[in-house]
Amino acid sequence: MNEIEEKKTISTETSSDDMKVLDDLTSSEYKWGFITDIESETAAKGLNEDVVRMISKKKNEPEWMTEWRLKAFRYWQKMEEPNWPNVHYPKINFQDISYYSAPKQKPKLNSLDEVDPELLKTFEKLGIPLGEQKLLAGVAVDAVFDSVSVATTFRESLKEKGIIFCSISEAVKEHPELIKKYLGSVVPYTDNFYASLNAAVFSDGSFVWIPKGVRCPMELSTYFRINSQDTGQFERTLIVAEEGAYVSYLEGCTAPIRDNNQLHAAVVELVTMDNAEMKYSTVQNWYPGDKEGKGGIYNFVTKRGACRGKNSKISWTQVETGSAITWKYPSCILQGDNSVGEFYSVAVTNNYQQADTGTKMIHLGKNTKSTVVSKGISAGFSNNSYRGLIKIGKNAEGSRNYTQCDSMLMSDKCGAHTFPYIEVENESSKVEHEATTSKIGEDQIFYLNQRGISTEDAVNMIVNGFCKEVFKELPMEFAVEAQKLLAISLEGSVG
């Protein structure tokens, strides 16, 4: 440990040449900013019971679903906007947001040929392996384009195994018993301000159900894309793995350049039963705002998994490079005995980005284990906070937690903060927490320079090394993308 720390922390002055290279690099523009010109149907701004009813009606939802939304909405009205996170932003006017936007006309499609070619082009630009690529990549994609699923591939082959992979709105209609049983069971509509808002107005999202003993043969994935101006996207994802099932789910996002801040308040719920295992990976690269901190996405997300069964496992991996403000804590409730929770995170902030992210590990069952590895990288004028809770309940005999959160600082104007909460009520358990903060090793940069490696490549190498522990948890395709993203986000940020 000491040795690593030492390596990370020794520093020398940067020469002005390096600074220039870095400046050039950091000034690069957001690479994925393009707007698709597709007619979309957007609700008028504002939020009241009628809007909630309208959303529900648009989606042809049954009565019980509408009621659930309304209950959430009424509850939400009584709640206060939280202000405890270490982020600062102008107050959001919730009446100035449009709560529904769907690409116009959405006939039921059976094959890709029927999809609007404009849309397909956008997906291609994003590199989503629909069409030809779908076979090569072996990825089934439930593409969410501004809130409504447009096409779902690989449905057939999944169906054979008995796996349900569809949009939430379809699931509400086709599998109401599952939705009734699980929706809101991990994140109830009373959970927090943004989760309640989401429950009231959620547009769409993915639903996955893996039956008993089935190992999902491929990585499931949803690509999100925020497209219409001024529409907050309220995704809702629910993944259930029954006894002995296994699934790996990927979530990745890019969004076009915008001036107005866009609110994104998603909810993700995961449930694993006895011996089931779930892996949830995210690469988040939404528009972070320009170099002056103007614009960008507000990403206020509630993600939580419940290890309900014995020996079950939930693993979160996230690479957070985008958004003006990120505020999320993928958590695990370890209810089942011997259940395992994992959280691997890389959070990068540049320019004026703010991130307050971390995890909660709630140990309730016996011999539960959790591992938390968080790597924060701050550059420019950004602020990056790790906030985590490790709670060991009274009955969590023999539980074990290991937490490591390291921060790397790339400029003298940025901030790196850690707020770990550790609450232990059981003496037989063991909790370890370790955190370091340091500057990028300039002797390492120098060493690499001296071998003929340019400063930006050197920075990339060092940062990739710093994040390796997390990247190795990502599925292969994602790992490559994540590394690229990291390089883009940090271009020219050492100073």
């Binding site: 707020f419 770990p420 550790i422 232990v424 370890e432 903060t437």
Partner: protein, 448 residues
């Protein structure tokens, strides 16, 4: 929550002020009285902290507020005889002794002895009368009133420890300060107001020793301000062993100037609810700060340590080690905050908190917190919670050591990391003894 108790506590303490003021006689003209009166306004307005306050999240002060304590100045309590205090003193080394009973200077019990020229060791009340200029600029200058407990101390501040060491003076003998607290018919509130000023190039070592006499409830609400001037070295020991029925709150506010060293040792044994706030501000470069803490709790004790180091200037270092041993139904809270400000480049800040739970029902809430705004820094913190190591215990027992003794050995080894940093040898052994006495565990023979 307990809003009613909180509110009525404010009213109760405000209402006692008139009686207190009458007791002051001619002294209501001093500068200290203006400070008191301002604090009284704060006391009426500020609320006592609740669990909704992030800084007090894990500590519920309602049991303190349920009781109507009477400030020591206007309460009655038994007189203490000189031979009675012996049992509370740390011995086997030379020291200047100053004694406070319920926060009030007890001259007849103190043996301050000969002090080098210019050194002042005494009670705040006496110093305010005789040397007002030496303290008027310093007192209440560091500590800002931010909750009702601070306001309560300041409004009733009358006496307390004053140590002034002038420029270039090295005080050879440590100062032992016995704060003896006791209640009989009245529930006594003692509000010592301590001030330590170590001038340029000076060196001083102060041992504050808080003890409870008898088992009646009382409440110590303390504020300590420490000025460490250029090149000065201050060793500040706090050994808190109040009785288990009583409440203890102390706020230490320290400021350090260029090249100075401040060592704070915080050893906690007693008290039903204990809260320590130790805040240090680095006001210049090349400063060194060490915090060492050890907290032991049994029964239903609640011990809360909040430490804060404000790295405001470059080239400073801080090192913090806090260890806790919690038994029975006790609860420990640790919050270690380190802020490295924008300009504080080349800062080194290390922090560690380790806690051992000896029983199934003991709990710990720990929150090491780093806020870093400068890039050229080395900062780390670590926190661990666990129980006595089974394999180590097994190893010791396999050598024929009985189980209880084996446990004691491990406890002592655990505590030793902190105890060993103490610079006064005889103090170490006496503290080791207190550890086992307090935890009701088998003691290890000193001789190896």
């Amino acid at each position: 929550m307990s809003n009613i108790e909180h509110k009525s506590a404010n009213e109760w303490y405000v209402s006692r002020f008139r009686t207190f003021e009458d007791k002051l006689n001619g002294q209501s003209k001093s500068f200290l009285h203006d400070i008191r009166k301002n604090a009284l306004v704060n006391l009426a307005e500020l609320s006592f902290p609740t669990n909704r306050n992030e800084e007090w999240k894990y500590t519920n002060v309602t049991p303190i507020l349920k009781q109507n304590f009477i400030p020591a100045m206007i309460s009655t309590f038994p007189k203490i005889k000189k031979e009675e205090i012996k049992q509370f003193l740390f011995k086997d080394f030379d020291y200047h002794l100053i004694v406070f009973v319920n926060g009030l200077f007890a001259e007849e019990l103190s043996t301050i002895g000969n002090l080098p020229k210019g050194v002042i060791v005494g009670g705040l009340n006496r110093v305010t009368k005789n040397n007002p200029d030496s303290i008027s600029k310093y007192i209440n200058n560091l500590s800002k009133i931010d909750n009702a407990f601070n306001a309560l101390n300041t409004a009733y501040s009358y006496d307390g420890l004053v140590v002034i060491v002038p420029e270039g003076m090295i005080l050879e003998k440590p100062i032992q300060v016995l704060f003896l607290n006791t209640s009989k018919d009245d529930l006594v509130l003692s509000v010592p107001r301590n001030l330590i000023i170590a001038g340029k190039n000076s060196q001083v070592s102060v041992i504050t020793n808080y003890r409870g006499y008898g088992n009646k409830t009382y409440f110590s609400n303390i504020i300590t301000e420490v000025y460490v001037e250029e090149n000065a070295i201050v060793d500040f020991y706090k050994i808190q062993n109040e009785n288990d029925e009583s409440f203890h709150i102390e706020k230490v506010q320290a400021i350090q100037k260029k090249n100075s060293v401040f060592n704070h040792y915080n050893i906690n044994f007693g008290g039903a609810i204990v809260r320590n706030d130790i805040n240090t501000l680095h006001d210049d470069q090349n400063i060194e700060t060490h915090y060492y803490g050890l907290y032991l709790a049994h029964g239903k004790q609640h011990v809360d340590n909040h430490t804060f180091i404000d790295h405001a200037k470059p080239n400073c270092m801080s090192n913090e080690l806090y260890k806790g041993i919690l038994d029975d139904n006790s609860r420990g809270v640790f919050n270690g905050k380190i802020i490295v400000r924008k300009d504080a480049q080349k800062t080194n800040a290390y922090q560690q908190n380790k806690t051992i739970l000896l029983s199934k029902t003991a709990t710990i809430d720990t929150k090491p917190q780093l806020e870093i705004f400068a890039d050229d820094v080395k900062c780390s913190h670590g926190a661990t919670v666990g129980h006595l190591d089974d394999t180590s215990e097994f190893y010791i027992r396999s050598r024929g050591v009985p189980q209880e003794l084996a446990k004691s050995m491990l406890i002592r080894a655990f505590a030793n990391d902190v105890i060993d940093t103490i610079k006064i040898e005889p103090l170490k052994e006496q503290l080791n003894h207190m550890i086992f006495e307090h935890l009701h565990r088998v003691e290890i023979e000193n001789k190896v």
